[in-house]
Amino acid sequence: MLNAVYQLKKPRQFELVYKDITLDDTHILVRPTHLSICNADQRYYQGNRPEEILNKKLPMALIHEAIGQVIYDPTGTFAIGDRVVMIPNLPSEKDDVIAENYLRSSRFRASGTDGFLQEYVQTVPDRLVKLPEGINLTVAAFTEIVSVSYHAIGRFFGTAHNRRDAVGVWGDGNLGYITSLLIKTMYPEIHLCVMGVNEAKLNDFTFADETYLVNRIPEGFAIDHAFECVGGNAAPRAINQIIDYINPEGTIGILGVTEDLAPLNTRMILEKGLRVIGSSRSGRKDFEGLVALYESHPEVVDYLENIVGEQVTIRQIKDISKAFEMDIHKLIGKTIMIWDK
């Protein structure tokens, strides 16, 4: 079958190509229904990756946050029409120690292999997780980024020491919102402080115990542990500020992606005996854990609805570009493409 794949050919230019899919006994076909744009997609779309990376990875279909409906399942794992979230990490081996999202042999959709901007996605049962009935589909569309926070939090609290009176989150964007929300849901006893640069955005963190603009943090402020959810050029400043305010032997979780190298105050990392944990992407068990959390704490889905931004119905290639352009100009929120292509 000739499957329509919408690839980014070069920055700001999408192109339709067809790729043959052979229907067999082991692969499931999913029809994407709701797709969410991530900053990583934007870096390709706007050409904000080094030229050699763009040359190597493009043309490629973008989007690694998406849900869809099962339309063909010879394995009998799902019923036709089941709504599923698709896992973009594609492991090619099993390892008892290293998680699937850190294996160097794993591939990742929309990063070297086609993402979900396709008519149908061919995959195996292991890469799909069934969504709860009646879940808000625009929220479910960005389950992947929420699973990245879920993964990072689990990893973080498996390592950070047990004094968790105050935990800080730096970043008032989508990732900061999601991470803060999950921390407060999974660890309600934690005193959560959120640091940002935009007061209006910080006002949306209603579930947090304290919020501060980064240039108005009160004297004497301290936290036991902290998450960096800033990314980009501002990430080094955020991490250094965390190093200033964190108590000795605290743990810093880094979630934000930077293109450039970050100069860090390593002297204080050493003096305070800090631990720095990197965290990236997620795997099947994170998706499963998060979906279970959505079911046990439906208020999380309600909160996440606050960051649903523009919803763009995609019928033509130019609608995809429109969605990406709208996404660039947003203040906060996830841009959702409703697939009608």
């Binding site: 043959d20 043309p59 029409g81 019928r315 292509k341």
Partner: protein, 238 residues
């Protein structure tokens, strides 16, 4: 889907080939390593709303078509190959007769008719054909004309240049309430039947409404060697 009352009708060359003509019909040519007709049938099979997918083939190619389906399509329970007619519309009538013979034809039965040599059909086009045929009784897949259309009755001088903004190029699928289509077709005179170039015209002649479905530029019909080259170009690499 069982008893959905929606049938796919894949038209695989109703004219038949002349005696002694051993050239293979276009639907058996391969793109991306598979016969074109297989790509087309697969798109229908994947849509669970089709109760059956009827493939209408010239008599001498029925076996060959069945063999290919067996070879390439694992989920083929709903696919049936039957004989086409002398013309496109006679072929469509054969499909309706087949549905009728199974006792499944009623006023709500929908057929989605499609050229077997248009394998770049998309999920959305099929969905909208089913929806619009149910809602409006008939629909035709079209794209807005990009070239100016010039009419010439004597094939020498221009008789008209219609306003391009109202012109569309017809593609397929064309979808209908099957029973009504047959009634209209049977009420046509032989003269009227002769001027039919496609099935939608049956309704247009009778003054009935046919809804438009937005097609795709890529939904090309593979007729000439040139089209085959375009089709191969549409196939992306890894």
């Amino acid at each position: 889907m069982e008893n959905s009352n929606v049938f796919g009708v894949v038209l695989a060359g109703g004219q038949g080939t002349r005696m002694g003509n051993v050239e293979k019909p276009k639907q058996f040519m391969e793109i991306g390593g598979k016969p074109i007709i297989i790509h087309t049938i697969e798109k229908f099979v994947l849509n669970t709303e089709f109760e059956q997918v009827l493939v209408l083939s010239p008599k001498q190619w029925i076996k060959h078509t069945q063999d290919l389906i067996r070879k390439y399509i694992p989920m083929r329970d709903r696919v049936v190959v039957i004989e086409g007619g002398a013309t496109r519309n006679e072929t469509i009538m054969n499909s309706i007769a087949y549905i009728d013979k199974q006792g499944k034809l009623n006023t709500d039965t929908v057929i989605v008719t499609h050229d077997s040599v248009r394998p770049f059909l998309t999920h959305r086009i099929l969905e909208e054909n089913i929806r619009f045929a149910k809602e409006y009784g008939a629909c035709d897949t079209v794209i807005a004309a990009t070239d100016t259309i010039v009419a010439s009755k004597d094939h020498a001088l221009i008789t008209d240049i219609p306003d391009r903004s109202t012109m569309y190029q017809g593609q397929t699928p064309q979808s209908f309430k099957a029973q009504h289509l047959r009634e209209l077709y049977e009420s046509l005179t032989q003269e009227e039947k002769k001027i039919l170039t496609d099935a939608c015209k049956i309704l247009v002649i009778k003054g009935e409404q046919v809804h438009l479905v937005e097609g795709e530029v890529s939904n090309i019909k593979i007729t000439y060697p040139y089209d085959l080259k375009v089709a191969e170009a549409l196939l992306g690499g890894e």
